[in-house]
């Protein structure tokens, strides 16, 4: 079961990395991302359909020498609360029709889902429906799956996969393609272009792979 634990851990790492990279860039972001990509690169990601998008992301991370250039581009593309932001990185923007209100209810419902999955939100700057928060939630679930495999409890791994599938179906699989399309339409710099391409490939892959993983586990 260690191989299955490693696989879940790899997915956890990718969720963490994607979540981190979609936060506002900080001084040590590039260094952290560089180390993370080195680790992930040794995990044989060429097995998966998102591998080419991953290669482009690694190139973008290793090719970016300064955080200074990324900050204004991040604000231009994703700056929450900035009027006219091309690609707002929060789910409610895509799910709640304009001028209808209900964002509060949507976010409250999302928080309740987090609690139901056994997750509690740390005090972060990002709102609960921010892309990074949701990717972090998936990282927690895949981490729980890895732990279940490591300790030899397949039922626990199954429950985690169920939660992952549900969360992808209800949230990330629905709005990430819309978010990515808006970001791409805003002609992002090569760095963020690679970031959203990878996010798209990875989430679409997860949306089709997690149900397969769960079904195969159920069949045993």
């Amino acid at each position: 079961m260690l191989e299955l634990a490693e696989e879940a851990q790899t997915r956890q790492g990718l969720y963490r990395l994607a979540g981190e990279i979609l936060r506002p860039p900080a001084m040590d972001t590039l260094v952290l991302l560089g180390s993370a990509t080195e680790i992930m690169d040794s995990r044989g990601l060429e097995r998966f359909s998102y591998a080419m998008a991953w290669h482009r992301l690694v190139d973008a991370i290793t090719g970016s020498s300064s955080i200074g250039a990324l900050e204004p581009e991040y604000v231009r593309l994703f700056g929450v609360g900035v009027s006219g932001t091309p690609a707002t990185p929060t789910e409610s923007f895509y799910r709640i029709p304009k001028r209808k209100g209900g964002v509060g209810d949507f976010v409250a419902q999302l928080q309740s889902e987090y609690r139901h999955m056994g997750l509690s939100l740390a005090r972060t700057e990002e709102p609960p429906d921010h892309i990074s928060t949701e990717l972090d939630a998936m990282a927690c679930l895949t981490g729980a799956e890895a732990e279940a495999w490591r300790t030899g409890i397949p039922d626990e791994a199954y429950r985690s996969l169920e939660s992952q599938e549900l969360f992808l179906d209800r949230h990330l699989s629905v709005w990430v393609p819309l978010f990515v399309a808006r970001a791409k339409a805003a002609s992002p710099c090569p760095f963020y272009s690679a970031v959203v391409d990878f996010l798209h490939s990875f989430i679409v892959h997860e949306g089709s792979m997690v149900p397969i993983l769960r079904t195969e586990l159920a069949a045993t």
């Binding site: 079961m1 060429e46 591998a51 080419m52 490939s201 892959h205 993983l213």
Partner: protein, 469 residues
Amino acid sequence: MNTVVVACAAAGQLLPDVQPDFEFDDLCRTPNQLGVLGGVERLVLILQAGKYDLPEVQRAARMIDVDPLGLQIIEVDEASLNGSFQADLAGVVARASKFEGSVPEHAKPLAARVMTRRGFLRPLAPAYVAAPFIDPDICVSSDGCMACVEECPREAYEWRSGQIEYDMDVCVTCGRCVTVCPVGAIGDPSATPAMLEAQVRAAVDASAGPIGIRFVCSSGSMAADADWVDVVVPCSSMVTGTWILGCLLLGAAGATAVPCAQSGCSLGLDDRAIEVNDLASAVLEDVGLDPQVVTGTSLGEIIGVSRVEGLFDHDAAPRVIEVLVSATSGSIDVDDPAADLGIVEISSAACTLCGQCVKTCPTDALMESFSGEEFSITFDPRLCVNCSQCLRSCPEIVNGAITVTGSYNSEALAGDRRILNGGQFVRCQVCGEEFAPMSMMSRISEVLGPEFDATMSVVGSRCLDCRGR
């Protein structure tokens, strides 16, 4: 486009007339050797049938940033020694070159884990196949089109409030939705019309003598035959009559869709391939050509090499019929449900001119026309793809208001858009605006009966805005 042909040495030995760009020993078992290649955009691999592991080959392709969904694999075995593969290879290279890339939604993973002998699950490198993907900018489901929903053999599509929902888990990637979509909104990156046309054209051009084209399922293996070139499609049930005839116009001396069961496919969608072969056969008979050339058993005379492009496109049928008629100086009149062209007729006695058929028609074959106080429904046979969406939307279908006949009819195609039914609109007695067809009001009155005469005197004489006044 930089397309490179790489062979496993053992497979290459079976094809002495083929010169690959690169050859590796035991490439089938160790595809990672591809990692030494640089700057490759499109890849054609010649491998031994049954000796390679697809997930590992796809993984090796990704290592050099080649999209596995565009990867072309020619499988060969001992039987290959009987055939000439020059035309096959030229076709496959041309097809690979026309690959335009895929989007993440196109990759369908098949399996992820395997049970070990000791009953443990082990992760696998998944194999990926190309899945269809709907371009939302082209799809007209919001107008009521459900062609893909109706045609899918596994109910992978669902129409919900004007949106098509697709379930990749259920989809068997047969590709039928791709060719039945009236507007060409559904794409399969591994078998686009441009790729298939390029393959047929190049194979014909590279062949020393007359050859036939066989459309075979992806689950089947390439048969060695000097006279026939296999064009692999996701499933032969997706092949249209237009594709068969298009091959002949491109210079093939024969063309056929090989029924699934014959090519080793387990989907059991044989009928469709048989139907399109029969359809093409009837068309050839009409223009005085040998109908046997679409049976896959014999070649016939070459009609001529057409330089017309786009003979495999979703809207190519009228072009194909037109070119065929001009090449043979014949005429075509074949009614067949499998035709990807149709003729719509409207019964003026039953039609109320409600216009639902016009609203639903995905290709604008049916349109509305106004001339003075006359309203009419017009029809252009060049745009009708026999999708029958108009039948589903017609509220008077039980009275036979509208019929669609699958038909290749050269005379109809040569004609102009024509009026199928017409009538006058009722003018609002208050504001003077025309608001509904007179025949529709008569039908409503008929359905409601005399006890609603008072209601109808208002509803039938005032537009929506003026009814409350």
